[in-house]
Symmetry: C2
Subunit: 185 residues, 2 copies
DNA sequence: GTCGTAACTTGTCAACGTCAAGACTCGCGC
DNA sequence: GCGCGAGTCTTGACGTTGACAAGTTACGAC
């Protein structure tokens, strides 16, 4: 094992993500992550100042990946964006758990706020690029954020034989969509 | 200070709730709660086996209070239930933070599950007492759960001059109701 | 009144997060 | 090809925490 790890930062993030899936974001310990990565107990300090720093990095990466996933949706109807949101949450449970956990991250971190805003902007933009009506955007965001949370908390599960994607599609379909010519924004 | 506290269990819960508002549910320490309550560092153990036990008790109480709040809504239209949900979350931030935090509580705790189901049943019941369509109920629950979360995470705030209740009313109004006469809003 | 039981204390342990100081190694300037 | 600084990692230490064990005190039923 070389003295210089190569990419210890990435390795620690990946180890942390795996541990979070197993034990939740609260139960992880920096020392155990270091152990799993084969480095000394204080090595993480240099890459992420402290535990909050590590979790902030994970949350930032999460929001950024979510923004990427939303930007990749070609049919920018809200239903499709919403489905992408829920699919992201269930395929990146560790990221999403940290993103929505209260008091685990430095909420005023620059990179974190920027990544959050990028994701928010993607949700709050109409297919034609115009900003969505605030109430509509908020309702949509709430809906998919809440559904993702309920799924990850285990309070709701897709019907057997069905999957998360079709559940998300059914639920987002309940959102009152303003009809094309009839409603501003 | 008497040897027997009187109602240490309640005192610890209240102290914990206050501390959670200040520092978040993760940062609280059993020892500090004991200190604030004026008892020895091991006293909490006897009332709540461990830290998870305390948080489970808070979550249980939260779901139970929420169920009470929902049951107290006389106009059982979903919009009103939803407003009550969001109002509960913002007026009981400590409870709600624990209720929705991942991995902090014993999710299989009997009392907790029962309280959750009581709240869920209230949301999933039509004004006339009939069970609501599953997708509709889930959409509504997701919407208000998500909105509450976004508010408490500080990612969204009511417009200045407005308040949480009217914001919740506006947002729940965006939910398409599968009633005859199709125009929501 | 005594006695069982519940409530609380004191003492202890391993693990953790964080800090300070030192050791190693890489790569750039010369 | 060589020194040297900056970046990377280690070692060691400190205070705090959650949890456990064993002992002490008060309450209430009989």
């Amino acid at each position: 094992m070389p003295y210089h790890h190569g990419d210890l930062r990435r390795a620690l993030l990946d180890t942390a993500l795996a541990a979070i899936v197993e034990q939740g974001p609260v139960a992880i310990s920096l020392r155990e992550l270091a152990r799993r990565a084969g480095v000394s107990h204080a090595a993480p300090t240099h890459h992420f100042r402290d535990k909050t720093g590590l979790l902030t990095a994970i949350a930032t990466e999460g929001w950024s990946l979510l923004a990427d996933a939303l930007d990749a949706v070609t049919d920018r109807d809200f239903a499709e964006l919403g489905v992408a949101y829920v699919v992201f949450a269930t395929t990146h449970p560790a990221h999403f758990a940290v993103m929505r956990a209260p008091g685990l991250v430095r909420a005023d971190d620059h990179g974190l706020v920027a990544a959050q805003q990028r994701a928010g902007a993607s949700l709050g933009t109409e297919p034609d690029g115009a900003p969505r009506d605030r109430t509509t955007a908020l309702a949509g965001w709430s809906l998919v954020h809440g559904l993702s949370s309920l799924l990850l908390e285990g309070m709701v599960a897709p019907d057997p034989g069905s999957d998360v994607e079709s559940l998300a599609r059914a639920v987002t379909g309940r959102l009152g969509r303003p009809l094309p010519g009839r409603n501003p924004r």
